[in-house]
């Protein structure tokens, strides 16, 4: 009897609670000039972040030079804080893999390895342990992208270093067509999932419906170790005559809430512009979709993810580190979201 009761209790323990993941919260730094801002560095210390993901550059094919070139590489006006390691991130525009031969692939891998090495030194760090490649690869560019990753892995400058890649939701679902990148781990990007260009009331940054659609039945089976990236940003999507016209950087929350300028539609994140607004290049009748992320959104997402992610040690990365965006969330908000994993 006693044995049975011990067994019952043991079984209870086994199923009663799921193993908790250990998460290391940190940020993406996605601006082109690094300044050590007090609030940003303070956030890193509060989170006890050991590393910061820093965008080094974009790489795109330049038809004038007929080669792949770095686009707005980062400049370090200040060194990174001493207690924080750097994880360089390189964004590759998918189109470079549409028409690339193996010589160019090798050259690209070599260029990136050398460039990243130099930029890491400029950030005040002697070395780095992980390089992240960010590319929204597709079925057609897949093979060449993976070949590129293999070249990068073999590069002498990346010996003993981890290479990770970013992973979009559709790449998790369509594993057969997207393939599995030949790297140790991936960063699941939980943002920009909806249809940005479609006119409507949806939030294209974070949309639980899309997450259900793309992750629910697929995430558990994804074979790579996964880190997670969550959004904290906001933006104003402009529509003119119900057609996507762009993202306006000259509209902020203060203007959106200005009753003289905008009228909010009921139960909606759409705002009608009431007058011509030349300062932002907008005309009367334009519609702004104000997309932002609340703590509740992040909590819902993190509950959803923790249900389907394998319990393991992982980085939880907020996109992105910015003094103004940090103001939208209290420390308590962040703590709740982090604890939810």
């Amino acid at each position: 009897m006693r044995k049975i009761s011990i067994l019952v209790i043991f079984v209870f323990f086994l199923f009663g609670c799921k193993q908790k993941s250990v998460v290391h919260p940190t940020f993406y730094f996605w601006k082109t000039d690094y300044h050590n801002h007090k609030a940003e560095t303070a956030a890193l210390s509060k989170f006890k972040s050991k590393s910061l993901y820093v965008r080094i550059m974009d790489v795109d094919f330049n038809p004038d030079f007929q080669q792949d070139v770095p686009v707005s590489p980062i400049k370090f006006s200040d060194p990174l804080p001493p207690q924080v390691d750097i994880i360089p991130v390189v964004f590759l525009v998918n189109r470079i893999f549409n028409e690339i031969d193996s010589n160019r692939i090798k050259l690209l891998a070599d260029h990136i390895a050398v460039f990243v090495e130099a930029k890491v030194k400029q950030s005040g760090k002697s070395s780095y342990s992980e390089l992240q490649i960010d590319c929204d690869w597709t079925k057609t560019s897949r093979d060449r992208y993976f070949e590129f990753l293999n070249h990068l892995k073999k590069h002498p400058l990346l010996k003993n270093k981890t290479i990770s890649v970013t992973l979009r939701l559709h790449q998790v679902k369509n594993i057969a067509t997207s393939g599995i990148p030949p790297v140790e781990k991936a960063m699941l990007m939980c943002y920009n999932m909806g249809n940005l260009r479609k006119y409507g009331n949806q939030n294209s940054i974070l949309d639980q419906h899309e997450m259900d659609l793309y992750l629910k039945d697929y995430l558990e089976n994804y074979p790579l170790k996964l880190d997670v990236a969550l959004p904290t940003f906001e933006w104003a999507v402009v529509f003119r005559n119900k057609k996507y016209a762009g993202i306006s950087k000259r509209i902020n929350k203060g203007q959106i809430q200005d009753k003289k300028l905008f009228k909010q539609r009921e139960n909606s994140i759409l705002y009608d512009l009431l007058m011509d607004y030349p300062a932002a290049g907008l005309k009367r009748g334009d519609v702004i979709r104000w997309e932002e992320i609340t703590t509740e959104d992040l909590l819902a997402t993190s509950s959803f993810l923790s249900r389907y992610l394998k319990p393991e040690e992982r980085n939880l990365v907020f996109y992105h580190l910015d003094t103004d965006l940090l103001k939208h969330f209290t420390d308590e908000d962040f703590r709740k979201v982090i604890a939810n994993f």
């Binding site: 030079f65 070139v69 770095p70 590489p73 400049k75 260029h111 050398v114 460039f115 130099a118 930029k119 400029q122």
Partner: protein
């Protein structure tokens, strides 16, 4: 081997090579030559060569990227006159030195006897030897050179050494203030302006120009180069219209920088009225209208008229008129099958026949206007 076999072997190898080569030439050869691939009976530079870069060319952005004058030769002439030495000798040392010569010159501190024979005879080096403050400037300018002349390589991760440039700029500025010799003072000021500019300190750069270069009384070409930098700083600080105007001034005053000034004028994307706001004299206005005309590959009689109105004696009028004639050639000469090998050969517009007559009428109307203008020009004999 029989003679017949030998001969047939030789001849077949000959034939294969001969026709193979032709096949390769056809397959890989022949880019469109922008100076030869369309019909023109009217040379695009009959008005003279001063504005040859901006003559009309149906296929190229600029007829030529070369400036009509050479900056290095102008600078050598100025130095030659200043030190009373041969300009060729200046050019040889300043611009033609190979790496071995540069290494020797780097250590040159006025002791001419330590140099190789070939350099000892150079009158520029002899002149510097006699003129210690000029030598000091020369060494200083050389120390700025590696900062200013950087090889353009996007994959070079090294940022520009702005701190180093800023130090040099400050040093140059200090010397400028105390230098008595006007020739050297202007050049030190130019180095200061230039180093501040490349270091991104555009306000400092502008100040140097306004204080030391604008007020300079000489007619040195350096003033024009400095004005180009100043115009660049004005643009960076957010005034594209004034910047466009300033570049139009460089365009007029410094033929060695004309192409650069022309391109920079357009980088500003300021409307012609914006640049005109700053123009005071008729000559300045004429130049802005001329640049405007050079940048227009459509019929443009307005620019032509304006230039003629403001500055009737200028060679600009002739250049613009010839441009219009060349444009008319493009519009009116019908390519026959033999000559039809350019753009039209590959891309023929199917719907052209419908609008052919009205297009022709527009072209003929333009022809008349140009003819009237030319007749007026000839009659007024300004």
């Amino acid at each position: 081997m029989k003679i017949f076999e030998k001969l047939s072997l030789i001849s077949s190898i000959f034939l294969i090579t001969f026709f193979g080569e032709i096949a390769v030439n056809i397959a890989c050869g022949g880019e469109v030559d922008p100076y030869d691939y369309y019909i023109s009976y009217f040379h695009n530079n009959v008005q003279g060569d001063e504005y040859t870069s901006f003559a009309f060319n149906q296929m190229a952005y600029l007829n030529s990227e070369e400036n009509t004058e050479s900056e290095s030769e102008i600078n050598s002439r100025e130095w030659g006159k200043y030190l009373d030495v041969k300009p060729q000798d200046v050019h040889q040392i300043m611009y033609e030195a190979d790496s071995a010569m540069k290494a020797k010159l780097q250590l040159y501190d006025g002791k001419i006897s330590e140099l190789p024979d070939s350099l000892q005879k150079n009158t520029f080096l002899q002149g510097l030897n006699k003129h210690k403050s000029a030598l000091k400037y020369y060494i200083f300018a050389k120390s700025c050179e590696p900062f200013a002349n950087v090889d353009f390589d996007l994959w070079n991760p090294k940022p520009r050494d702005t701190a180093g440039m800023s130090l040099l700029a400050t040093e140059a500025l200090t010397i400028t203030k105390s230098e008595k010799d006007a020739f050297l003072k202007l050049r030190y000021a130019y180095q200061a302006e230039r180093m501040f500019h490349y270091a991104g300190q555009h306000d400092d750069s502008k100040n140097v120009f306004e204080k030391f270069i604008k007020t300079d009384q000489s007619n040195s070409a350096v003033k024009g180069w400095a004005l180009a930098l100043y115009a660049g700083s004005v643009r960076r600080l957010g005034n594209p219209e004034e910047s466009a105007f300033l570049f139009s001034k460089v365009f007029a005053s410094n033929p060695e920088r004309r192409v650069q000034a022309y391109k920079n004028y357009y980088y500003n994307s300021a409307p012609v009225s914006g640049a005109l706001k700053y123009a005071k004299t008729d000559e300045e206005k004429a130049n802005i209208w001329a640049i405007n005309g050079f940048g227009n590959s459509d019929f443009d009689i307005e620019s032509l008229n304006k230039v003629y109105q403001y500055d009737p004696k200028s060679q600009l009028t002739g250049t613009l008129l010839v441009r219009e004639v060349n444009k008319l050639e493009q519009a009116l000469i019908e390519a026959n099958d033999i000559a039809k090998i350019s753009f039209d050969y590959y891309f023929s517009y199917n719907d052209r026949s419908k609008s052919k007559d009205s297009v022709r009428n527009v072209n003929l109307k333009q022809l008349n206007e140009i003819r009237n203008f030319a007749v007026k020009l000839a009659a007024e004999k300004k």
